[in-house]
């Protein structure tokens, strides 16, 4: 039995010349016969005929044969389509191995870049930035963080300026760090945000959050956090970190493109704040803090107390902090701090009760 179809408006293109040929179409014995004007009859088995997807209009359907990448048959008779059972079947995938290879290469390139090359370069370059440049880097980063953390979208996050609290903090810095031989003076700021955290930035910036002051059980714990962050400043961890993110921001922007470019920048800001330095860098900053507190006559065990306090408060700390606090190394750090307490030494509180009250009220 042979079925005939309407060839009006139909055209065949041989894939070589851009000239339409009129056709007559029949299906017999599972073969689509395409008769051309010059008498040639093409035979396409119906299961080898595919329809081009996502076509606009719908009045004309373009068909092709799986074995021929070029020839096209445009038909207007929709009845024909019923007899082409495989017309929507997708082409078998090809070149998957190559795709997988490049996908792995891309992931590896980004990985090597972010985890090896950029840190290596940043660590080495950090030592060569002149102090003024480091200071400028810190200022720029501080501005970015204040803007990124603002929730109203209007002003950068407020710096707390209570004069008595500021004076008390300045005095504390002075006491901890009496004869500074560092590259930078320490610039201490308190940000009006309830996150329980503190961080250091290049160029001697140390930033405390209001939430940390509220969580601290006494001035010694605050002093211990300050000493720890000064330890980071001295070893220039923040400078390395800022240079690293300068390298990483471009890469992440490249990967996510317009889809989530803004999110990548936010993510990096988050990383800057929560400052996940290496374990070695943290231990070094802890040890620096122990020495600094002991020299200033403040109980070095306070650092351990602060960690313990933060762990208790972990319930309402945000996810990143909670993760950090659940880290098993924290126990070791608390023990290390308590081991530094000299039973024979006389420790004095890091500031007077009045000063501590002023610091607690610095954001009011």
């Amino acid at each position: 039995m042979s079925l005939g179809f309407d060839g009006l408006g139909a055209a065949y293109f041989d894939g070589d010349s851009p000239v339409a040929q009129n056709v007559s179409m029949h299906i017999a014995a599972g073969i689509l016969q395409i008769g051309l004007d010059d008498g040639v009859i093409l035979r396409w088995p119906v299961e080898e005929v595919r329809q081009l997807p996502d076509s606009a209009g719908g009045d004309v359907v373009t068909l092709r044969r799986t074995t021929d990448p070029l020839a096209r048959l445009c038909v207007t008779d929709q009845n024909l389509l019923k007899h082409l059972p495989e017309r929507h079947r997708a082409a078998p995938p090809k070149g998957r191995g190559r795709l997988a290879a490049w996908a792995i290469a891309a992931v590896a390139a980004v990985g090597v870049q972010i985890f090896v090359l950029v840190p290596l370069l940043a660590d080495n370059l950090a030592g060569f930035i002149p102090p003024a440049g480091e200071r400028a880097l810190g200022e720029a980063t501080f501005g970015q963080i204040r803007e990124a953390m603002d929730e109203t979208g209007l002003n950068p996050l407020q710096i707390c300026e209570g004069p008595e609290g500021r004076a008390a903090l300045e005095a504390l810095v002075q006491r901890l760090n009496p004869d500074s031989e560092m590259r930078h003076d320490i610039s201490l700021s308190v940000l009006d945000h309830d996150m329980v955290n503190a961080f250091a930035l290049p160029g001697g910036f140390v930033v405390l959050f209001r939430g940390l002051i509220e969580a601290a059980e006494g001035p010694d714990e605050l002093a211990s956090v300050l000493a720890h962050e000064i330890g980071h400043v001295v070893s220039r961890d923040p400078t390395r970190h800022a240079l690293r993110s300068a390298g990483s921001i471009g890469i992440l922007g490249l990967l996510f493109g317009d889809f989530a470019g803004g999110a990548a920048v936010l993510f990096l800001t988050e990383r800057l704040i929560s400052a996940q330095y290496s374990q070695a860098a943290e231990t070094a900053a802890d040890e620096f803090a122990h020495r600094m507190l002991a020299q200033a006559g403040i109980n070095p065990g306070a650092l351990g107390d602060m960690f313990a306090t933060m762990r208790e408060e972990g319930g309402d700390a945000n996810g990143v902090i909670a993760h950090l606090l659940s880290h098993p190394a924290l126990d070791a750090r608390i023990k290390a701090a308590h081991a530094q307490v000299d039973a024979g030494a006389v420790y004095t509180p890091s500031m007077s009760k009045a000063d501590w009250a002023a610091v607690q009220a610095i954001c009011n």
Binding site: D14, P18, S55, P93, A106, A109, I129, G247
Partner: protein, 450 residues
């Protein structure tokens, strides 16, 4: 061709060499039809956009392919649809290749530039500028490569288009012409437009036929007239209202004086606000709108003029594109798309307030407000992120429906080929394998345009 005709018909004539048909429609030329429905495109864009969000962006290669297939098949010169044969997989592959190459360039370069910028200049501005400048040549390079890819995957009547290699040549020329344009304060802009278009057109093929860009660059000055007039009006208005006959009566206005006058104004006292015919200030926004129109007009009128001078052996193009119409499409379409985005952002802000404030007093009366405030924080975040992405999706869909679609339709319907006698002389060209597809353009975020 792999499909050998089976010569089994007894009355089959011997194959005849095909001559140029005389007196058929080929002599009268062909028009371009556009046959897609806006609604169909809307659903296709919505569906593929939705998948893109679900797959965190990976489906965008499929989305772009499917949208192009649709647009191409809607454009029908002489009644026969164009065909887009690009493959999403090769786009994904190209993206990976570009990522491998570009991460090193961008990552290391950015870091070094930041270091130098802070070490030498104590500021990040120089670093950002240099890092931006470093990407510009790659940007032009990627644009040319993307065009080559799209043309290589475009067919009409079964015959491939193509663009010759020459991306670095294009990038170098583009940089040089931009430099000339900037140092001549824009006077040589039409020269840049023309020569860059000529560079691309002269390397474009349809099958075996090479296209040629004719005409001269000076002809484009006519397209720049509205822009020029608007600029002159702007300069004149600024000069008039600020220098010759100032609106602000010569007294220097500082912040305090201004605040005082506004206070008096609020009290109903106009006397302090002694402006000299302030209605003349309206000229400035008018001129600004004129400049915007002039820029769109120049962009598209120059395309029309150059299209009218494009030809191949025995084929000519003609375009009746209307600069006014295109401007209207841009203004209206963007208005609709951005209105949607604005509405979405407002809704988002209100929802965020309801979710995180623990219920403002304003929201307490709304049923369900307390319920929303009681949701776990992560769920609220997921909800907000989902909404945020949905509004961007909807913006993209509306942009496709109300800007790209009418633009494509207008372009198609105003284009024609008055002379096509050369068509039968054309034969197929070889496939351009082109492993990295439009990966660079995708990675550098140039792929937003179809």
């Amino acid at each position: 061709m792999s499909d050998t005709p089976i010569l089994n018909s007894p009355w089959q004539a011997a194959p005849q060499p095909q001559g140029v048909p005389v007196g058929t429609s080929a002599e009268n030329g062909i028009a371009v039809e556009f046959s897609g429905k806006r609604g169909a495109l809307f659903w296709l864009a919505l569906k593929t956009g939705f998948f893109t969000i679900l797959t965190l962006g990976f489906y965008r290669f499929w989305m772009k392919t499917r949208l192009r297939r649709w647009y191409w098949s809607a454009i029908r010169p002489g009644g026969h649809a164009m065909e887009y044969t690009g493959d999403p997989m090769e786009k994904l592959l190209g993206f990976f290749i570009a990522v491998v190459i570009l991460t090193f360039y961008i990552g290391i370069l950015n870091l070094l530039l930041m270091f130098i910028s802070f070490s030498v200049f104590n500021s990040s501005v120089i670093g950002y500028l240099l890092s931006f400048a470093g990407v510009i040549p790659i940007w032009f390079y990627a644009r040319y490569r993307a065009r080559r890819y799209v043309l290589a995957r475009t067919r009409w009547r079964g015959v491939r288009f193509g663009l010759e290699k020459g991306a670095w040549g294009f990038a170098l020329r583009a940089l040089w012409y931009w430099f000339l344009t900037i140092i001549t304060a824009g006077i040589l802009w039409p020269r840049m437009t023309f020569l860059l278009e000529k560079y691309k057109t002269d390397r474009t093929f349809f099958g075996s036929a090479r296209l040629v860009q004719g005409g001269r660059w000076q002809m484009l000055y006519r397209a720049a007239l509205p822009l020029l007039v608007s600029l002159l009006v702007m300069a004149g208005a600024a000069f008039w209202t600020l220098q010759v006959d100032p609106v602000f009566d010569g007294v220097e206005i500082d912040g305090e004086a201004l605040a005082n006058e506004i206070e008096e104004l609020a009290a109903g006292d106009w006397s302090g606000f002694d402006l000299n015919r302030p209605e003349r200030l309206l000229l400035l926004p008018l001129a600004l709108a004129g400049i915007l129109f002039g820029m769109i007009y120049y962009n598209w009128a120059s395309k029309r003029m150059m299209a009218n001078h494009k030809s191949a052996n025995g084929i000519q193009f003609a375009s009746a594109l209307s600069g006014m119409r295109v401007t209207l499409i841009y203004v209206l379409g963007n208005f609709i798309a951005y209105l949607m985005l604005l509405l979405g952002i407002v809704a988002l802000v209100f929802l965020a307030a309801a979710l995180f404030s623990g219920g403002f007093t304003v929201f307490e009366e709304i049923p369900g407000a307390a319920l929303m405030a009681g949701l776990p924080r992560w769920l609220s975040l997921v909800l907000l992120a989902g909404l945020y992405l949905s509004f961007f999706l909807l913006w993209g869909v509306l942009y496709n429906t109300f800007v790209t679609f009418p633009l494509m339709r207008h372009m198609a319907r105003t284009t024609s080929l008055p002379v096509v006698v050369g068509l039968p002389l054309i034969s197929q060209r070889a496939r351009d394998e082109f492993a990295e597809a439009e990966g660079f353009a995708e990675a550098l975020d140039l792929g937003a345009a179809i």
